[in-house]
């Protein structure tokens, strides 16, 4: 075990003390984030003693397993669905050989990616290069914690849930930029830079389109927002929904806003130099992000888990997957916009519109 660790250490870091220090700092940061999240549970353990500890510990374990199942299961489903949907739209069949009508295709793909060699270009900035695929995954996992899948199916209902989600999703471009900068590739660098400016430009209309929802429901808690919806907020906030959805497309780097990884311009953008499972982590993060933004749209505008007849979580997943299907539909029908057009669209059109929407909502509520 120690021998193996030593080999990995030498292979990856060549025992450069500065890089070890950087890695250590990164790890510490990750630990701090985790500790901050676990704070209520730690406090509970100190205050209430061991019985609470045991109960909460099981709850924690269960929720970690649950979140991982949702993340990986969702990615497996989405890879398959994306390929099938693309197939239907492009006059072809899509995967059909592995398993009944190709259902096992994504599992086989995952195994293939696991077995692939991890190539590393010579001049990469090693700590950044290795940390980026790991760090891009943390926001996805954390955001999952606050999403209410059903009436009682939620890892933890935090009273500032929206703030937490926005704070963590704003971390994604940092890891993308780490990947772009660290891979010592000009295409990757351009992709990383595009990602930063795109994310900044679209974070604002996204937040501005959520604020009316918060105003209407009077709470930051996601469960509270769902409970506050007598009728789905999309009826009260149609413009807000559109702005949110467009910003969400840009946030998750999906076509027509997939500029950081624009294939015909930047080869593969920020993940050009990644192979095997490192690339798969970027891929996984992308699909999880797609799921999260669609889940949030469901919660904010479509009434979340509420619905007649069927159980709540079924309604939740139905609504979310309809939105995801819409995203795929866009992806396979639209060309890509140009970079300046993308930014202009946000700054000149979406942000003023969102402001107006906010003002009108406020005025109407006052009346």
């Amino acid at each position: 075990m120690i021998k193996w660790l030593k080999r990995i250490y030498q292979e990856y870091f060549n025992s450069d003390p500065l890089q070890v220090l950087l890695l250590g700092t990164g790890a510490l940061l990750v630990l701090l984030v985790l500790l901050a999240l676990l704070y209520p549970f730690v406090r509970g353990a100190f205050e209430l003693g061991l019985s609470y500890w045991g109960k909460d510990f099981i709850r924690l374990l269960l929720s970690i397993v649950g979140v991982l199942i949702v993340v990986f299961g969702n990615a497996l489903i989405l890879v398959y669905v994306e390929r099938k949907v693309a197939g239907w739209m492009q006059l072809r069949i899509g995967p059909k050989e592995v398993g009944p009508s190709g259902l096992l295709q994504s599992i086989v793909d995952a195994i293939k990616l696991l077995g692939k060699q991890l190539l590393r270009p010579r001049y990469v900035d090693k700590p950044l290069y290795f940390l980026a695929p790991i760090l891009i995954f943390i926001p996805c996992l954390v955001t999952m914690v606050v999403i209410p899948f059903d009436h009682n199916l939620q890892v933890r209902d935090i009273n500032v849930g929206i703030v937490l989600i926005l704070a963590f999703s704003a971390l994604t471009p940092i890891s993308i930029f780490m990947a772009g900068w660290g891979s010592a590739n000009k295409y990757a660098l351009l992709g990383g830079m595009r990602s930063i400016s795109q994310e900044i430009a679209y974070e604002i209309p996204m937040v501005l389109s959520i604020i009316p929802v918060v105003m209407l429901s009077g709470t930051f808690s996601l469960k509270g927002i769902v409970e506050a919806q007598k009728i789905p907020f999309i009826c009260l906030q149609p413009i807000g929904f559109l702005i949110y959805f467009i910003s969400a497309l840009a946030e998750t780097n999906r076509t027509p806003f997939d500029l950081p990884e624009a294939e015909s311009e930047l080869v593969a953008g920020y993940h050009t130099e990644y192979s095997g499972m490192r690339f798969a982590l970027f891929f996984l993060a992308e699909y999880t992000n797609v799921f999260i933004v669609c889940a949030l749209a469901t919660i904010f505008f479509l009434g979340g888990y509420k619905g007649p007849l069927l159980p709540g979580w079924v309604w939740f997943f139905i609504k979310t997957y309809i939105l995801i299907f819409m995203m795929m539909w866009f992806r396979w029908t639209f060309p890509r916009v140009r970079f300046d057009q993308l930014l202009n669209f946000s700054w000149n059109f979406l942000i003023p519109l969102a402001m107006l929407n906010l003002a009108v909502t406020g005025a109407l509520m006052k009346i």
Partner: protein
């Protein structure tokens, strides 16, 4: 007439041009030049709005002959200016200050023959690799001096500058093949473009000198694998002109039908890949499905799907089979319906319009100086089409309609190609009605062509294909030179691409419809 005025001017200069029969030679005026009068004469051509077709070099052992081909859009008469150079120390003034497009042909000659051009800004190697020892097209082996083997002229990143050099290709998704562009960028803006060709270079012109005329013929389809029939037609037409062979009318009409089918297939491939360049993946499959139908039809006729070997010198390989005409009719019907679908899906798409409208301007002046031809030129508002100006094959009997648009932006280049598909479909319909009976090839058999030279031009989906053959009466060509349209279209990109966003550069490069094997030859 422009040509009459030009002839008068040239006469005053002391350049004598003789009129030669176009039917026999493929060019109208021919004359010898002195070295010191070259620039003056070329300036006269520039003054009257001639565009440069190509520069050919032929090694006659006792001297090297440079042949400049000029042509005019409104008054299409080909001029060939000949310039004799001493093979020991070949040096010629460069015409690149007047015709920047000519500079690229000069680079090619410098590489293959060792002619140095005085005043050329960048005489580095374009196609060949630095390990090559002899000038490939010289008849007597001449060593290449070490100092002449320059690939890129020391283009290294300058640390002081904020710009950086980026390699686009040879394995880049938007270059469709192995084209390499060395681009100087400042942020997302392109500042300078330095192309490196030759990743697909096969020295087709040397191959031709090594094989007999009929042995070389299948190679013609390997130049442009998307629209190979235009190149085959060009070769066969040149040989027919050289040997004075009359081709039966039925063969000519069948040539027209297959050429037009090939043109539609090529434009469909362009449509799919261009939209892929812009980030839309789905139209690619729709376009390829229709192209597949054409390939099926042509496979039934010629036996192959991509590199056809169907035409023969003096006719065709085989007559039509029974199902061909029915299949073509079905295809026309289907394509007309699908074209409307593409129009609905693509032409009005807001993102597509925003990406292409007003992007990548090629004005007439740039087009003329670089020798642009084909749909790229017609999108700039010039009604020049070899099918009309120098009718060959079935175009002698059926005059095609020229798709013409003013503007010269990517969007117009897209519309011109869509219009051309439409026109081709109409032409096909008419040709099917007028298909005569009779033999499908001549009875005349020829072993060796007579001594002489000949030029022949056809209109490929990408522009004017030209071939210049010099025959010394043996069974192998003495010299064969291709004018490939993609090469001439591409070199203009080094000029128009400056100052663009990288995304626009990709859109413009795609709109030029390049095929790399044809460019590299």
């Amino acid at each position: 007439m422009v040509s009459a005025k030009l002839l008068k001017d040239l006469q005053e200069m002391g350049v004598e041009l003789q009129e030669v029969p176009y039917e026999k030679k493929g060019y109208c005026f021919d004359g010898q030049l002195e070295k010191d009068k070259l620039l003056q004469a070329v300036e006269a051509f520039d003054h009257y709005g001639y565009f440069i077709e190509d520069i050919v070099c032929v090694d006659y052992v006792e001297n090297l002959e440079l042949i400049y081909h000029f042509n005019h859009w409104e008054d299409p008469k080909r001029f060939s200016l000949r310039l004799r150079v001493n093979p020991e120390d070949p040096e010629v003034p460069s015409i690149s200050p007047i015709y920047p497009g000519g500079g690229w042909h000069e680079r090619e000659i410098h590489e293959f023959f060792g002619v140095s051009f005085k005043g050329h800004p960048n005489l580095s190697f374009l196609f060949l690799h630095p390990e090559i020892e002899y000038y490939p097209l010289r008849k007597i082996p001449v060593r290449i001096p070490e100092e002449k083997k320059k690939i890129l002229q020391g283009k290294m990143p300058d640390l002081e500058e904020e710009a950086f050099w980026i390699n686009m290709g040879p394995q880049h998704p938007s270059t469709h093949g192995v084209l390499r562009l060395f681009i100087k960028m400042r942020g997302e803006f392109v500042e300078e473009i330095e192309p490196v060709l030759g990743y697909m270079h096969r020295m087709q012109e040397k191959m031709a000198e090594m094989k007999s005329y009929m042995q070389y013929y299948p190679n013609t389809a390997r130049l442009d694998y998307v629209g190979p029939l235009a190149f085959s037609m060009c070769y066969c037409g040149a040989m027919e002109r050289l040997c004075e062979i009359e081709v039966p009318e039925r063969a000519e009409m069948i040539r027209l039908i297959t050429l037009e089918l090939n043109r539609i297939a090529s434009h469909l491939l362009w449509l799919g890949t261009y939209l892929l360049d812009l980030g839309a993946a789905t139209p690619y499959f729709f376009a390829f499905q229709d192209r597949e139908a054409i390939l099926d039809i042509l496979e039934g006729l010629t036996g192959s799907r991509l590199t056809y070997c169907y035409y023969r010198i003096g006719g065709l390989c085989e007559d039509l089979n029974d199902s061909f005409l029915k299949k073509v009719e079905e295809f026309i019907h289907r394509m007309k319906k699908n074209l409307k679908i593409y129009d609905d899906l693509v032409t009005g798409n807001a993102i597509f319009v925003a990406r292409t409208k007003g992007i990548g301007l090629i004005d007439k002046e740039v087009a003329r100086r670089f020798g642009l031809t084909g749909p790229n030129l017609r999108a700039s508002g010039v009604a020049y089409d070899v099918r009309v100006s120098e009718p060959y094959a079935g175009y002698k009997f059926l005059r095609p309609k020229i798709a013409l648009l003013e503007g010269g932006f990517c969007y117009e280049r897209y519309l011109v190609r869509i219009k051309e598909i439409e026109n081709s479909l109409n032409l096909l319909e008419e040709a099917l009605k007028r298909l005569p009976d009779g033999p499908f090839r001549t009875e005349k058999k020829i072993k060796k062509p007579p001594v002489g030279d000949v030029y022949f031009a056809t209109e490929s989906p990408r522009g004017q294909v030209g071939i210049y053959i010099v025959s010394d009466g043996s069974e192998k060509p003495y010299r064969l030179k291709w004018r490939s349209p993609s090469f001439c279209n591409f070199i203009s990109f080094t000029e128009i691409g400056k100052g663009m966003l990288i995304a626009d550069a990709v859109a413009t490069l795609g709109s030029l419809d390049l095929v790399v094997p044809e460019m590299d030859r």
